[in-house]
Amino acid sequence: MLIRANDLAEGAALHGDVCIIGAGAAGITLALELMGSGLDVLLLESGDIDPDPATQGIYAGESVGQPLAVLDGLVELDEIRLRYLGGTTNHWAGYCRPLQPVDFQERDNLDISGWPIEHREMIPYWDRAAIWCRITDAEFSPEVWSERSGLQLPPIDDGIVSTTTFQISFPMPFGVVYRHDLTDATDTRVVLGANVVNIRNNAKQVTGLDIRTLSGRSLTVDAQMFVVATGGIENARLLLASTNADPNGIGNSNDLVGRHFTEHLQVYAGFGIFEPPLEDLIGFHGSDVTIESGRHSGEVHGIKYGLSLTSDHVMESPTTGLEAQFLLGHLPHGVPAQPGGPTMAEVTALYDLLGGNGPASTSAYIQVLAEQRLNPDSRVTLSDTKDPFGMPRTRLEWQYTQDDRDSVLSGLRTIAESVGAAGFGRLQIVPGGVHADAVDHLVDGELLSLYRSMPDQADPTGFPIGMGFHHMCTTRMAHDPSEGVVDSDCRVHGMDNLWMSGSSVFATGGVATPTYSIVALAIRLADHLKEVFTPSA
């Protein structure tokens, strides 16, 4: 059922077996998975069903590191997350793709790497996550999707670069799609307008939660088990701000809470020409498929290809993960115009003469998502400024390094070389030198020039990098408390009854978009909570 904190009496005390803080992808999945298990679940949401500026403003904070860039502009901390039922899924682009085997492994070329669980352990949870994410299934093999959809695959199979499949569930606001489940459940109470301002604890156990509403009402919550599922930034903030037992916050005896803040580096990377005609590359442009069975039977989702570095290559090379998506159009004549340099048409002429089996007829705009190395200096801390409840606001210092930039450049070059070797086309690398809004410039199927700076001016040490709104690793998972905040069950090290859920527990960020794995990990946590729950006498 849905209830509003403001409708409860001042000082009311809520009791449950499990209390989940945050009703986004992780929190709602946890609640859905716990329904019918015999556990009495409280799901606390700061916002209401619809957004409102006052609640959203609680997310405001300081950004003192790398600029929070997206497309051709900058964004604020209260724009990159959403604070109402469904959380940030309310602006999720819906891209689903599982983490890759290399993401879980120890890597010699990185200072910090590896998960305390193996890739294979996640597979059954990705299977179940496909349902909640409203995609066909957990099958991401490009060969299988080529067969299912009839979309042609590129002739690239060199073990270095491979085709990547995305299933795209858009729009997929969890708070809308699963509202009836949450409303109708008799064992789940969703409390709207409930802001957790303190996790009371004795440094061993959580003893309760202090709740405030924006209208000034105070409530408390008591439960046997608590889960913080408020997103990769807010999860850290809530632990850091809960200081009644330790001035450093909860689970922070090793000064790790909030560190290793990791994003996916988004780069508008250049252009390309491809030999296959546009109609044969429709898989890169995207197509729709219909879910044929199960809970969401009859619903339609997208399917799309990209190219990515293989796990084997990333494991063996001094680089990190990278995937490239292509916005395709008919090859325009003589553009992109590039004073002083070869035009796309000139490269095409050379390609036609020398490179391929036929004339290049398709142009492409390249967008890259790249893995960021874990960096302890990239972190969430608390600001000196306070929110309406007197809680310290977020201070985010996002930091990436030249090594990250170098990996973007080398990864792009690797993909360009694989594309060339396959006789598939040619790529032009202009990192940050193309405008981000290419999709608005695809005119009548022709991709027009979008250079923001000439290729000669691209700065390998300063090209613009955007963010994917993927906030990860701030309470990372590790067996050893000196390396991470939560254990392999996502329980906060040193705490008996407090678990974290969401991308903050990712031990590494990888390059796959995180929501699908956030949902899978929430399912895994739900199974764990059912297992460890002890019914009271």
Binding site: P342, V347, A349, L350, D352, L354, G355, A421, Q428, M454
Partner: protein
């Protein structure tokens, strides 16, 4: 080189401006694979190998096989005029 797209020569000139140490016919022919009696055929046969071996060059951001860029440079030297639409 009659009949070739003059755009190739433009690209070849750009390559030589970025790699001036190769900007003469003897050097280019020496660097291209044998037989060099037809630099186009010679380049065509080795492009995939160049890409696989990472033997690539960057011309204004375009990642090209070294042999195809050199072939374009040969075309440029054979077509010294530019902008006349002929080669």
């Amino acid at each position: 080189m009659a009949g070739l797209d003059p755009a190739i020569a433009d690209l070849g000139r750009r390559y030589m401006s970025e790699y001036p140490e190769e900007a003469d016919l003897a050097t280019l022919l020496d660097l291209l694979p044998r037989p060099t009696h037809n630099p186009i055929d010679a380049a065509r046969s080795t492009i995939s190998t160049d890409f696989r071996n990472g033997d690539t060059v960057t011309v204004a951001g375009w990642v090209l096989a070294a042999s195809e860029a050199r072939a374009a440079a040969v075309v440029a030297l054979a077509c010294p005029g530019s902008g006349d639409g002929k080669c």
